[in-house]
Amino acid sequence: MSTRIDARFAELKQQGRSAFVTFVMAGDPDAKTSLDILKALPKAGADVIEIGMPFTDPMADGPSIQAAGLRALKGGMTLRKTLAMVRDFRKDDNTTPIVLMGYYNPIYIYGVESFLADAKTAGVDGLIIVDLPPEEDTELCIPAMKAGLNFIRLATPTTDDKRLPAVLANTSGFVYYVSITGITGAATADSNAVAEAVARIKRHTKLPVCVGFGIRTPETARAIAENANGAVVGTAIVDVVRANLDAEGRATPKTVSAVADLVSALAQGVRGAKQAAE
């Protein structure tokens, strides 16, 4: 099985650089603006796009991403509309990998089989589901693999060498290393500790390793990308969306361009890094 994710990482390897992975919340602050942001991301330098599926109770996320999810829900976003947004994005872009990230309950309620079929048809390439550890692989991970979607697992500083094989067993696409023990947007990643962790994971897998949580600036993104196959930025982007809304929380003419500007700056940081050693 080869997906857009595999193709993109192969392509980046040829170019000799690491991936810049962006996270945005579907429907934040409204469906139209959100789609416009999505379309602007590849042009601004995003190599892989993670789209948050809004959920009322995101237990591993900090206040910024939780607030973005609640803004989206208030604006009427649903899982069905999130898939519709991916379908609209695919009309103009058939190469940028799309990974949906979120929590299990909305998918469980949608129905696993119909969700996987609809996600595949819409043009989704991978899933990151925060509250489905390997112990619950039969819920979604195995069915997703069968449906031809990558199931991207989180590895964390608490995932020791003994546990890593279990975490990596059914992972495909890439491994998402969470650089801190903590919630999104809380602390700054320590690039030395991350380099060590990435090297450790690479001893167990040939998959690309991307690093997220705690990356906000082009400098940090660059330092991380020196050692990993990709750097993921979420909270900083979501914060720029919020900072460019009007007093009632609605989009302004600056919302999309402000996000594109930040993403360009971060992308330059990542592109300035040497490629991570394989």
């Binding site: 009322t56 591993a60 069905r80 309950n105 509250d131 964390t156």
Partner: protein, 405 residues
């Protein structure tokens, strides 16, 4: 009843933490290694006679167990049916059943070498019990509590602070128990290396629902023994209120395989089941939240809805997974009582028996008024009086005063 009933209702969960389709371990990877450590530490403790022996000393001399099984003569006369016994968990140190479980978990935490304890609390009963045992064993204690609950349960907030705990008012969401649980989980993800999360009810990822049930089962074990002593036989029916459902699970579990014992759980129907309520079984469906699959209140898109109950301790949109399973197998019948019914029961028990119940327990008393009169005079009915009403006195006082005007 369906034909696929198990031989025993007491053998769950399976090795993966499932009760039928319910339960499981739906948590972030950061927490998984710790949850697996906890599962092992608890299994070791359970198999260690020294652990139980030490627990028994504290249960007797610190908690004040066994709690009495009291024949409520005036309530029995008033309702004119079954013979009603109250299991007096409100007489425990800290004023509720919560202390049974907290003692057990703190002792497991000590075995694991954890120095920092976090907890979430709705009405504050679990928070007070946690703060109390952290004081007793010299552990740092942080309690997450919805900002709304901090307002309506001031007496318990003051108690926790006096005991040396830090109470963190949670400002996210509806600022009640669900949000306090989210923030406790966030703290745990962040401080996983030195922190033990003391969960207050039979919910959360495996092994919590099983571990909390085991620690609370002392309620049912004592009831069996005490009823044998008082009446020479088992009770005919049991009733307990349900939020997450730990007091109920503790009373029910030792009786699940006794077919002669009818068992009733009472959820909070708030303003009524068609309006705002906290009755996850009556008004919800299976979903995944806070580490387990269980019945939840949610919308068509799987977004979690806010619960409502007059009682902060029942104000949660989910229920323990073992209850969800007992509901689907039909072994336990789940009923519900409204805010109004609970308020009436609160006053009834206070006036007839001189016992002011917690608003949580008042939900169970409320259904007693419906069930007891329909039963014969030799029917033995036990209601779990899970907590005392001291914490609710200001809130109920305000409501009653407002009505007199």
């Amino acid at each position: 009843m369906n034909q696929n009933l198990p031989n025993s209702f007491r053998s769950g969960p399976d090795e993966r933490g499932h009760f039928g389709i319910f339960g499981g371990r739906f948590v972030a990877e950061t927490l998984m290694p710790l949850i697996l450590d906890l599962e092992k530490a608890y299994a070791d403790a359970k198999a260690d006679p020294a652990f139980q022996a030490e627990m028994n000393v504290y249960l007797k001399d610190y908690v004040g167990r066994p709690s009495p099984l009291y024949f409520a003569e005036r309530l029995t006369e008033h309702l004119g049916g079954a013979k009603i016994y109250l299991k007096r968990e409100e007489l425990n140190h800290t004023g509720s059943h919560k202390v049974n479980n907290v003692l057990g978990q703190i002792m497991v935490a000590r075995r694991m070498g954890k120095k920092r304890i976090i907890a979430e609390t709705g009405a504050g009963q679990h928070g007070v019990a946690t703060a109390t045992l952290c004081a007793r064993f010299g552990l740092e204690c942080v309690v997450y509590m919805g900002a709304v609950d901090v307002e309506r349960q001031q007496p318990n907030v003051i108690r926790m602070e006096m005991l040396g705990a830090k109470v963190v008012p949670v400002q996210s969401g509806a600022r009640t128990l669900k949000d306090a649980m989210n923030d406790a989980l966030r703290d745990w993800v962040t401080n996983v290396h030195n922190t033990f999360y003391c969960i207050g009810t039979v919910a959360g990822p495996h092994p919590y629902p099983m571990m909390v049930r085991d620690f609370q089962s002392i309620i049912g074990h004592e009831t069996r023994k005490q009823m044998q002593e008082a009446e020479g036989r088992l009770p005919d029916s049991l009733i307990a209120c349900i939020g997450g459902g730990s007091n109920a699970m503790g009373l029910f579990h030792p009786f699940l395989d006794d077919p002669s014992v009818e068992i009733f759980g009472v959820e909070a129907a708030g303003h009524g089941l068609t309006q705002l309520h906290a009755a996850s079984l009556a008004g919800g469906r299976p979903g995944v939240l806070h580490g387990n699959r269980t019945y939840l209140l949610m919308d068509a898109d799987g977004q979690i809805e806010e619960a409502h109950s007059i009682s902060a301790g029942l104000d949660y949109p989910g229920i323990g997974p073992e209850h969800a399973w007992l509901h689907e197998t039909g072994r336990v019948k789940y009923l519900s009582a409204t805010d109004e019914e609970a308020l009436a029961a609160f006053q009834l028990l206070s006036r007839l028996e001189g016992i002011i119940p917690a608003l949580e327990s008042a939900h169970a008393i409320a259904k007693l008024s419906e069930l007891a009169p329909q039963r014969p005079k030799d029917h033995l009915m036990v209601v779990n009086l899970s907590g005392r009403g001291d914490k609710d006195v200001p809130q109920v006082g305000d409501i009653l005063k407002a009505r007199q005007k």
